[in-house]
């Protein structure tokens, strides 16, 4: 058992070295050749393989930049996000924040990092303890991370509630989560993410559980906050239609790897990877003509992350597969233009 496990780890340790990453560009966050694997246990004691949630991801985020990570469920974006937040430890690769490699640090050494990153979750109600009122919810990060007096905390809470436009502030302080609407709840969650004056915000599907009429409000709020405080934002979503209002670059993720990355305009007007094309084709705009045509998209499901297909992971569903190449060799990143990269053999 242990031998099998060690062998698997040894393999990736020796594997091909990471593509060169421009880590000197004053990147706020630099993710280098990140591999996040989860061990599967048999009957609680034996080893039964790995779930390769993130399998070689390179990503750079400049200070004050907003990027989107787009992908469907099971593509590994949640695991990527949790590793960025410091909850998971990678099995290989580095996560460098502000020049410091956090992926190797012990949890107790990561305390400084907690106040640098804010986290906004998908479920606004679930993200808050139902038995705490707004004041307590917003105070918690401060109580844990800084030595502040109650007065200092109160002042900061008022300031941050003002930022997220929750008025009148006094009315909201004693309320409990179930007394708020979905939009208000999400504002409080955003407020909580901002309360320690972070440099980076990780937003996981922040509006997908909100009503259509409220989504844009919240996205605008996030965008304003990002511009005002020069925050780095990682916006994780599966809804391509919101991406253009909120990000400068997009990373399309599939089965633990980045399929295509580039500026928003590049991806939307010159999508290259067949998976990106499929995603764009599948995203509808409200147009009555849609009802008359069948969408031309690949069938099938995303692959298992335990035994991913060899070569390019999209090849079983790809309409443009090159025989004997795509199913054997893993495609490296090809550059279409300086910021637009595709991991697809079609662009060799």
């Amino acid at each position: 058992m242990a031998k099998m496990k060690n062998k698997a780890i040894a393999e990736i340790e020796q594997g091909p070295f990471p593509a060169e990453v421009d880590s000197q560009k004053q990147a706020l966050l630099s993710i280098q050749d990140l591999h996040v694997w989860f061990e599967l246990r048999k009957f609680g004691f034996g080893h039964a393989g790995f779930v390769r949630a993130v399998d070689g991801v390179n990503l750079d985020l400049a200070k004050g930049e907003a990027i989107a990570v787009v992908g469907e469920s099971g593509c590994g974006k949640s695991s990527l996000m949790k590793t960025i937040l410091g909850i998971n430890r990678p099995v290989k690769g580095r996560v460098v924040f502000d020049g410091k490699d956090i992926s190797k640090m012990e949890p107790k050494d990561l305390k400084w990092y907690r106040s640098q990153v804010g986290y906004i979750q998908q479920d606004p109600y679930g993200a808050m303890p139902p038995f705490m009122d707004v004041t307590r919810i917003l105070s918690e990060p401060m109580i844990i991370n800084s030595k502040s007096t109650p007065e200092e905390r109160d002042a900061r809470i008022k300031k941050v509630l003002e930022e997220v436009k929750v008025f009148p502030i006094e009315d909201f302080l004693p309320k409990f989560p179930h007394m708020l609407s979905g939009g208000q709840q999400q504002r409080i969650v955003i407020a909580r993410a901002m309360v320690l004056e972070p440099k980076l915000i990780v937003a996981d599907e922040p509006v997908s559980m909100l009503d259509a009429s409220v989504r844009v409000e919240i996205l605008n709020l996030l965008r304003n906050l990002q511009e005002k405080y020069n925050l780095g934002v990682i916006y994780i979503t599966h809804d391509l239609s919101t991406v253009r209002y909120f990000s400068r670059r997009i990373f399309v993720m599939y089965a633990g790897k980045i399929a295509e990355q580039g500026k928003v305009q590049d991806l939307l007007f010159n999508p290259s990877h067949p998976y990106t094309l499929a995603l764009l084709a599948a995203t509808s705009d409200p147009d009555a003509a849609n009802a008359r045509v069948y969408k031309d998209i690949p069938s099938g499901e995303p692959p298992s992350l335990i035994t991913p297909p060899p070569g390019c992971r999209f090849h079983p569903r790809c309409p443009k597969k090159i025989a004997c190449l795509c199913e054997v060799e893993v495609p490296p990143d090809f550059e279409i233009n300086p910021e637009h990269k595709v991991a697809c053999w079609l662009f060799k």
Partner: protein, 447 residues
């Protein structure tokens, strides 16, 4: 605090809860009364009491209020003590140092049935020569019946009921019956009226004196009756209340809080800790609870502290943990826990401030319902003879009653009184517990 008041208001909407709460309030009141009336040392002294403390009390007497339900009233205990009433004594000093002391102890006999026992307790002071007394009974219809002549020491007891000579004189009849019968009646009826016990004593030394106390033991005594050692049952009934409540409360609180903490910690850390804890729990669930307590009680110590400790230790790894674990596992997956980890909350903070508050509301009704089971447990142990040897508890009463054949002899009060209190406690907590359950688990509200 606010939520406590809100929940209390919600609770008071249920009539069963109001009834239950008042019953618990009554029990608490009884406990305070017990501790007030009989502070600990005095209670123990009385409970372990000797002849000195209880001699004026009858054995196996029913509670006095049962007479309300009887047409033929049972007799009450009659006591007349000359040392309390100096006017009952007349002393006639003679020139040679001797004195004739006449003591007349008047009493009224009004019951429909006879006294159970008659005794005269003499106390005298002298140097060498014992005083001599002649005891006789004066009946309401003017007869005087001579009972006995005897010499008395410093303390002496004349048990009239066991005087064989007197029995022979009364044609084989028991004195407590024959002496109080109306000779004219056929069939014989008790003769009600004013009686007097006459004692004519002679002392042979100057300064020597005699005091006499006549006790006619009744069939009823006090609010709660008496047991085989003449002890007033009110003491263990009252005193048993705080003992029962405390035992139940401490055991319930101890097991619940510790159980919950163990479940929280092991579920949060998972891995081998969780594994080991679950195996311990499973083994514990197989172990027989009561036999282990019996073993501890028999071989080690019956002190209530030891029993309480053992109960808690066996209880904390009980099946409650599995329920808690299920709840904690669910809470652990909540998004807000993940968010807390992201902003750096420590493990202990998450366990105690983020996970436990979700579980506590479910815990409260469970815990209230647990209290009476521990009360019954303590009583069961006492009935098995493993109760605390010092403390007067409800279970001890039942144990004594059982050993003395209470039901066989018709002394039902001895068993019914503690049983009633046990059921009262159980009912009170159950009603409150079920009402709380409906509040904290709304699905049961009948939606």
């Amino acid at each position: 605090m606010k939520s406590f008041v809100k929940n209390l208001k919600e609770l008071l909407k249920y009539p069963s809860a109001i009834a239950g709460l008042s019953m618990i309030a009554l029990l608490i009141l009884l406990s305070i009364l017990a501790l007030n009336k009989y502070p600990y040392s005095e209670a123990i002294k009385l409970w372990r009491g000797t002849e000195q403390d209880w001699y004026t009390s009858p054995k196996f007497a029913q509670p006095a209020w049962t007479n309300w339900f009887r047409l033929n009233k049972l007799s009450e205990t009659i006591t007349v003590d000359s040392s309390q009433h100096p006017d009952y004594i007349s002393v006639d000093e003679k020139s040679d140092g001797s004195s004739v002391i006449k003591i007349s102890l008047p009493f009224t006999f009004n019951a429909d049935s006879y006294q159970t026992d008659l005794a005269v307790y003499f106390k005298s002071t002298f140097k060498d020569k014992k005083p001599f007394v002649a005891v006789s009974l004066k009946t309401p219809d003017g007869r005087t019946i001579r009972l006995k002549n005897m010499a008395i020491g410093t303390t002496d007891t004349y048990r009239i009921s066991q005087d064989k000579a007197l029995i022979r004189k009364l044609d084989g009849e028991q004195p407590e019956i024959a002496l109080f019968q109306d000779p004219e009646s056929n069939p014989p009826q008790p003769l009600k009226g004013d009686y007097a016990l006459e004692i004519e004593g002679v002392t042979f030394e100057p300064g020597s004196d005699i005091n006499a106390e006549f006790i006619a033991f009744g069939d009823v005594s006090g609010i709660a009756g008496t047991d085989h050692l003449r002890r007033n049952l009110l003491i263990p009934l009252l005193w048993g209340t705080p003992v029962a409540l405390l035992f139940g409360l401490l055991a319930a609180v101890g097991t619940t809080i510790i159980s919950m903490s163990i479940a929280a910690v092991s579920t949060w850390y998972g891995g081998w800790l969780d594994n080991i804890t679950q195996r311990i729990v499973e083994i514990n669930m197989i172990l027989p609870f009561l036999p282990i307590l019996i073993m501890v009680g028999t071989f080690y110590s019956r002190s209530i502290g030891v029993i309480l400790g053992t109960v808690i230790i066996l209880g904390i790894f009980g099946s409650q943990i599995k329920t808690f674990r299920a709840m904690f596992l669910q809470t652990k997956e909540s998004p807000y826990i993940e968010a807390a980890r992201a902003y750096g909350a420590s493990d202990s903070r998450i366990i105690f401030q983020y996970m436990m508050p979700r579980v506590i509301p479910v815990l409260i009704p469970q815990f209230i319902l647990l209290i009476p089971s521990y009360v019954f447990l303590e009583a069961s142990l006492a009935i098995l003879g493993l109760g605390d040897p010092i403390l007067p508890t409800w279970g001890k009463i039942i144990d004594d009653a059982y050993s003395n054949g209470a039901l066989y002899n018709g002394w039902y009060y001895w068993v019914l009184e503690p049983a009633f209190l046990l059921m009262f406690t159980g009912l009170a907590f159950a009603m409150v517990g079920f009402a709380l359950d409906r509040i904290f688990n709304p699905r049961l509200r009948g939606q």
